[in-house]
């Protein structure tokens, strides 16, 4: 099997597994208990908090553990919105190609009377700090813009956006789920007020994540109950998952540069190879791009068919964004960068990590062109294009 869907989730690393099993075996107490067993669990929790804070340049008090990226996104936006509303600010700036955890939360806020402005992301899939500066108003409560896009891999100018927001005294949240562990993050230097990350995107466990909130930005609790996480998130802490996340993040950050160098070589080989397929196009920014992200549109075929046939050959990849039923929606990200519906349906995302090899790339570069040719050969739409009845888009 070739696993090329690391943007969906990653295989857990040995460091994380060892940290978790040790914690489950030895430090299984409730961190809120007063006796020694509980206190050791509390120590494990706080040790992990400190190490995670160090990885992103935060202080431990600014780290709140959540069930993952989606919860962190929800809580960040809800908190900033509430804070803004108290001061009569009900304008929120974001982009058209955020993750649904952001877009759906913003939609809810719109129903509740907030005004949401989604900045266009252009054909490369990015926004500029200038665009953000232009959009900020007196009543802007929040700017929420992702660090890197999960589908097309564009890296956004977060430091510049952070500087603009700080200068204009607007809260800046960034969904860094695809960036954490893969790109350097320094919340202080980058003027980030709120940041979400998720452990399973960097070889940590699923169901655990972090909401960083700069000191002075109060969080609103989404889950009421006990006083865990300084009253910001009720529920007995998932200590072993937190320990696994800390181990995985440290490991990823320690090897970040070498992993990025290795993975981007594989990525560039894939991009060069797949570009040879006629009537295809790379999606996203070719330069400011996540080291492991490859995203292509192939005209005249459907992503779903391509994935099924890749699966048949043992290659795990994705297309569009998977919904709960496992089916594929036409990607709002590809539509946002201006791909027409028809082409957006024929997309393929390959996302690599440092475990992938040259041999994996060889196998993918053999399989994809063959399958694309096979599917085009069976497609009535493709035949119409070849015969000139319909025009090529790409």
């Amino acid at each position: 099997m070739i696993y090329a869907d690391n943007a969906a989730t990653t295989q857990m690393g040995e460091a994380a597994i060892n940290a978790m099993t040790a914690c489950m075996r030895d430090t299984w107490g409730n961190p809120s208990s007063l006796y020694g067993l509980g206190q050791r669990a509390k120590e494990a929790l706080e040790d992990a908090r400190e190490r995670i804070a160090t990885c992103i340049g935060a202080s431990p008090k600014e780290i709140t553990f959540t069930s993952g990226g989606s919860e962190a996104d929800n809580q960040a936006i809800r908190s900033a919105a509430l804070l803004g509303a108290r001061r009569g600010k009900r304008h929120i700036i974001s982009t058209a190609f955020e993750h649904h955890a952001i877009l759906h939360t913003l939609k809810r806020l719109e129903d509740e009377g907030f005004e949401v402005e989604l900045l266009p992301v252009g054909p490369l899939g990015t926004v500029t700090a200038h665009q953000v500066a232009e959009a900020i108003r007196e009543d802007t409560a929040l700017v929420t813009i992702m660090y890197a896009n999960n589908e097309i891999g564009s890296i956004l100018p977060v430091s510049e956006i952070g500087a603009v927001c700080r200068e204009r005294r607007v809260i800046f949240h960034t969904d860094a789920v695809q960036a954490a562990g893969h790109l350097p993050i320094d919340v202080r230097a980058q003027n980030i007020d709120l940041l979400s990350l998720s452990a399973h995107k960097f070889h940590g466990p699923k169901g655990i994540g972090v909401l960083y909130a700069r000191q002075g930005v109060p969080l609103t609790s989404l889950i009421e109950g006990g006083a865990q996480e300084r009253g910001k998130r009720a529920g007995t802490e998932n200590v072993s998952a937190v320990a696994g996340m800390a181990a995985a993040l440290e490991e990823s950050c320690a090897h970040m540069a070498e992993n990025a160098a290795k993975v981007s070589v594989l990525r560039d080989r894939l991009i060069a190879g797949l570009s040879q397929i006629p009537h295809s196009a790379l999606n996203g920014d070719p330069v400011n791009r996540l080291p492991g992200n490859v995203n292509f549109c192939f005209e005249g075929i459907e992503g779903e068919s391509l994935l099924l046939l890749l699966d048949d050959r043992g290659i795990c990849a994705s297309s569009g964004s998977a919904c709960t039923s496992g089916s594929l929606d036409p990607s709002h990200v590809l539509l946002a960068i201006g791909r027409p519906h028809e082409v957006a349906h024929g997309s393929l995302r390959l996302s690599l990590c440092e475990e992938n090899t040259e041999a994996d790339v060889d196998a993918i570069l053999k399989a994809v062109p063959e399958i694309v040719a096979y599917l085009r050969n069976m497609s009535p739409l493709w035949k119409d294009k070849v015969s000139g009845k319909k025009e090529f888009v790409l």
């Binding site: 068919s305 099924l308 046939l309 039923s325 496992g326 089916s327 594929l328 519906h341 497609s379 009535p380």
Partner: protein, 375 residues
């Protein structure tokens, strides 16, 4: 159970190693169809088509045909059978090929049958193409109908259980499609199907049959159209047969030929909707006898039992899903259309519905009923 079908017997050599794609809705019928196909020795792939987002059709969390519950139901049956299972997102095709056509037909004054379009454009065209891409020899559904090969042609026949027969909504299948379609339930009764479902522990065996239009679960198609098209359907005049205004209607799309209830007229004798003029936004009503006509024309004609119609032919015709076939004669008409002359006048011939022609159990062909010229 005295009757045995070949499908429940040992795997046939002829199908060993051949791939079949099974359209699974999560309901009893398609679950049993999947089971029988696996028993027959096919390499099976289970598939559910995702046809719409509930939010897109203005239904929130409601129970509809293609809801998440159904996907989960179909998925659990597939896991129980040990076959791979996928969900295909055809929501865009469904919108263009089924819902848009449905709305356009209503706005033109017709009463469409969206199930026929769904079979035609989604199940047996989009899904068919997918099956080909995946190298599947057969495409299997839980429809109650039978396919046989006679004298070099594939013949579509009614189900053995006449109370479940669905051949009416399948009249548009082509020879190419029929060659690859399998209906494993065609020779079974609904109670036999339920027995198999219970024996196999399919959790949905108590689920009632699906009814009505899947994307309009509450049946209020006028409200759906208003919400979907974003257009109001204004009130207008109700006319009698001689053209006098006798009342007001609440939007012409709300009325269907033959309808009596909901007209809001206080008259001495019962009246029925006879016709609609969408351009003038009028609805014409008359006594029941004015609903009857002996003749209709169709376009969109498809022939199954014959290659084409070269002269008049005696047939039994069905002009709505739940109707007994009526003796009639079909005549070829210009440019591929047909003209159907009934032996006895028929009540409420409705434009947009299908006229399906039978010869005994055999589906000869059919077409979509055109608006009749009124005199």
């Amino acid at each position: 159970m005295t009757r045995r079908t070949s499908l429940t017997a040992a795997p046939a050599k002829a199908v060993m190693g051949k791939k079949a794609l099974i359209a699974m809705s999560g309901g009893v019928d398609s679950s049993v169809a999947a089971f029988l196909t696996k028993q027959a020795g096919y390499d099976c792939i289970g598939v559910t088509m995702k046809l719409f987002q509930n939010e897109d059709i203005g239904v929130s969390r409601a129970k509809t045909c293609c809801s998440l519950d159904d996907v989960e139901g179909a998925g659990s049956v597939a896991r129980r059978l040990g076959i791979p299972y996928y969900v295909f997102n055809f929501s865009r095709d469904f919108k263009v090929q089924v819902i848009d056509r449905f709305a356009a037909a209503y706005e033109s004054g017709a009463t469409p049958n969206p199930c026929i379009d769904c079979n035609r454009y989604l199940k047996f065209e989009r899904l068919f193409q997918r099956a080909r891409e995946l190298g599947c020899e057969a495409i299997v559904t839980g429809h109650y109908a039978r396919i046989e090969k006679q004298n070099g042609r594939y013949i579509l026949k009614k189900a053995l259980d006449k109370s479940k027969d669905q051949s009416y909504v399948l009249y548009m299948l082509t020879q190419e499609q029929l060659a690859h379609i399998r209906f494993p339930l065609g020779a079974l009764s609904k109670s036999e199907v339920r027995r198999i479902a219970e024996a196999q522990g399919f959790c949905n065996s108590e689920k009632p049959d699906s009814q009505d239009i899947c994307f309009i679960p509450d049946g209020d198609y006028a409200a759906f159209l208003e919400q979907y098209t974003g257009k109001p359907y204004p009130t207008g005049d109700v006319l009698d047969l001689s053209g006098h205004v006798i009342g007001q209607h609440r939007g012409a799309v709300r009325y269907t030929t033959g309808q009596r209830k909901g007209l809001g007229l206080a008259l001495n004798e019962p009246v029925y909707v006879c016709r609609k003029d969408m351009a003038a936004n009028t609805v014409t009503v008359g006594p029941e006898q004015s609903l009857y006509s002996r003749e209709l024309r169709t376009d969109d004609v498809n022939w199954i039992a014959i290659d084409h119609l070269s002269g008049p032919m005696r047939v039994y015709a069905k002009i709505r899903y739940r109707q007994t076939e009526q003796p009639s004669t079909v005549y070829p008409d210009k440019s591929g259309k047909i003209r159907l002359l009934f032996d006895k006048p028929q009540r409420a011939v409705t434009a947009g519905q299908a006229a399906v022609l039978y010869n005994g159990d055999i589906v000869v062909g059919g077409g979509t009923i055109l608006k009749t010229v009124q005199f």
